[in-house]
Point group: C2
Chain length 411, copies 2
Amino acid sequence: MSSLEIRSVETRDARFPLEAGAGTDAVHSAPVYSFAVTLLRSGGQANGTGLALTLGAGNQLVCEAVRLLAEGLVGREIDELMADFGAVSRRMADHPQLRWLGPHKGVVHLALASITNACFDLWATSRGLPLWRLLLDLTPEQLVSLLDLRYLEDILTPEKAVALLRENAPGRADREYILRAGYPGYNTSVGWFSYEDQEVRERTREALGRGFRAFKLKVGSPNADRDVRRATLLRELAGPEAALMLDANQQWTLPRALRMCEALAPMEPYWIEEPTHPDDIEAHRQLARAIAPVRIALGEQVPNRVVFKNFMQAAAVHFVQADCTRLAGVSEFLTVSLLARVFGLPVAPHVGDMGQIHQHLVLFNHIALGHEVLFLEYIPHLRDHFIHPAIVEDGVYRTPFEPGCSSDLAW
Amino acid sequence: MSSLEIRSVETRDARFPLEAGAGTDAVHSAPVYSFAVTLLRSGGQANGTGLALTLGAGNQLVCEAVRLLAEGLVGREIDELMADFGAVSRRMADHPQLRWLGPHKGVVHLALASITNACFDLWATSRGLPLWRLLLDLTPEQLVSLLDLRYLEDILTPEKAVALLRENAPGRADREYILRAGYPGYNTSVGWFSYEDQEVRERTREALGRGFRAFKLKVGSPNADRDVRRATLLRELAGPEAALMLDANQQWTLPRALRMCEALAPMEPYWIEEPTHPDDIEAHRQLARAIAPVRIALGEQVPNRVVFKNFMQAAAVHFVQADCTRLAGVSEFLTVSLLARVFGLPVAPHVGDMGQIHQHLVLFNHIALGHEVLFLEYIPHLRDHFIHPAIVEDGVYRTPFEPGCSSDLAW
C-alpha cells in the first residue's frame, strides 16, 4: 500500500485570461479565471489534483494558504485519511491559528476546498474509479464519515444523514437511467454582462443548435431598461419553453431587487440568481416572499454549511447553488446536498470547476439522495485546459468514466 | 499640502509570542498575537499605522492582501481621500478580482481593516488630533461620508444616519463628562482557558486591587464541571456586584449551548459570549429566546455590517462586540455602531487592537451617538509594544490625547 502514501503537497497558481467579455457580470468586470491548484503526489501512478476558483488577483494567497493548511498530509495514506475524512477536514478547518482568518470562509476556506478536492481525486484515481462511482459504492456510514456535520446538530446529525441515505436506497436502480441519458446542462456563456445584443443573439442561436434548452443571462445593469431589453431578447430567441435564468450577481440593494424582479417577472425567469448581498439572509427572505412565484437561486458565494443552513431555515433560497470550489470541497458539497434534501430543496451547482467535478456530484445527488434532475451549468471557456474536458452533447453532460474527479489540468 | 500626500504603502508582519497560557480559549489553543500592519508614509512628519489582528500563522497573507488592495492609495492626498472615504472603501472592498476572495470577509477584509485604520491614523495625526476629537469635530454629513452604507438601505440610509447624529447632538456637552471620568474597563486576562484555578485566583485579586469590577472567564471546556467550577470561583472572588462575562469562543453546538447556559446561569453572567458558530444567526436567535434573561454578546468574528444587520434583525445578539480590526476598520465600526443605535443595542467592542483604537471609538459612540457607557475590554499583554499604550488606572481607560489612533508600534 506504500504507493498510496502522500509524498508531497505542491501548489500551482494557474491563471487563464479569457476572450473579451467572457465571464463578465455586474460585479466582476474583468475576471481572469484562475485555479489555486493542490497537487498531491503519491509514490505510485496515482496523483491528486484539487481546484479552487478565483478571478485572478490574490490567487497566490489561496496557494499559500494551501501550503500552510496541508502540511500535515505528507506521509499519510490516502485510504486511511478518507476513512475518517470528516475529522481530517475539521482539524484543518479548525487550525488553532489559521481559523482566525475565517473562520470557515474566505481565503483559508478556499484553500481547504482545493486540498479536499485533491484528496478525493487521489482517492478515486488510486481506485481506478470515477468519483461518482466511488461515492455510490460507499455504505451510508462510510459516506457520512467523510463529512464534518458540526454545528448542524439542530437539523442534521450523523444518524439522520445515514437514515436519509438508507431511505433513498430503494429507488437507486431506477435513477441510474441518468448515467445513460446524461445530465442536462444550461448554458451560461450566451449572456455575459458586457456582450452586445448581437453577440447574445448569435451565441443563443448557436447554443440552441447544440441542443441547449436552458440559458443564463447576466443582469444587474445600472440601466434597468437594458436588463429588461436583454431578457426580452433572450426569451424571444429561446422560445416560451426554454428555461431562462437571470443573474444579478449581488448588484441590487433590497429595494432595487424588489423593483427589478417585478420588472423582469414577465420574462418568466426560471430563477433570479444572487439578487443582493450573499450574506443578507433576511433580505433574501423578504424578497422571496415578495416576488413569489418567482424563485431565488444562490450559493456561489455562500461559504459554508452553516450559512446554507441559515438560508434554508429562513426559506430565503429555492435553488441551492453549492459549489465544491467555494465550500470546503467535495465533502462539504455533499453535506449541503444532504441539508437541502432535508429541506426539500433542489441543488443546482455553481461550477467554479467549470463543471468538471460537479458532473460527478449531480449524478451522486440524483442516484443516492434522490435529488431531482435539474440543469448543470455549462461554461466552456477553459475546456482546452483540462485533460478530460466534460463532454456536453445535445445539451447534456455525458457521464464521465475516467478515474478521479476529471480535474487534471494539462500543464 | 504636499506633505499630506501618501508617498508609500508598506506592511509589517508583526508577531508577539505570549507568555504561557495567555490568550488561550476553547478554540484558539496556541495564539501568537500578531498584527498585519499597514504603514502609510507621507512626505511630512505625519505617518499612518493600521492594525488587523491575527493569531500568527497566515499573518503574511493579510500583509500581502494589503499590498494588493492599497496600490491605488499612493499619490493620493489624505484629506481628499477622507472627504469621500465611503466611496474609497467601497472601491477597495469591491475590487473586481479580489472581491471573489471574500466577499467582505476573511483575509481580504482583514486587509481592508488594516488599510482603513492606517488612513484614519494618518488623517488624525496630520491634523494633530486624537481620533476621538477628530471624529467629534466632523459635521454629521462629513461623518456619514466616511461610511459605506450599501446593503443597509432597509435599515440605515445616509439620510437616516445623518438624522440620527443630529438627534443625539443636544446631549453631547453633558456626555463629555466621560472624557474626564474615563471609560470603564473589564479585565480579560484573569481567566484564560488554560489557566489553573490558582492563577485565576491570583490574577483576579490583583485586578480587583487595580480597581477592576468586571472580568471575563473563558469557558467551553469539554468538561462542563470545569466551566461551572471556574465560574463559581470567579463569582466568589469578584463578589456579587461584579460583572462576570463568560466566553465560550464558539465551542458549543446549539444543544450544548442550551444546556451550558442553564448550568452557568446561577453565576449570573453579565453576558454569555460567542456560545456557538459565529455564522449561525438562527441558532443564536433560538438560544437568546431560550436563555432569557441571560444575554448574548458576539461580534469578534462577525465580518461585516451586513451580517451584523442580520443578527440585529433576528434579535440574536444583545451586546454588539464590533471590532475595527475585523470589520473594515474604523469606518465600518462606526457603521455598525449606528446600526446598533437604530436597534437600541449597546456596543462593547472586542479589542483586536488591544483597546488602543477602540478607546477612542467608545468615547465617540457615547458622546456623539448617545450609546450607553459599558465596559471596554482590557488585555495588557502587548502594551510594551505600543508607543502610547492605553493607560488604565483604577479600572478605567484614561482619555488619550496623543494625535492619531494610538496604534503606533515601537519597532
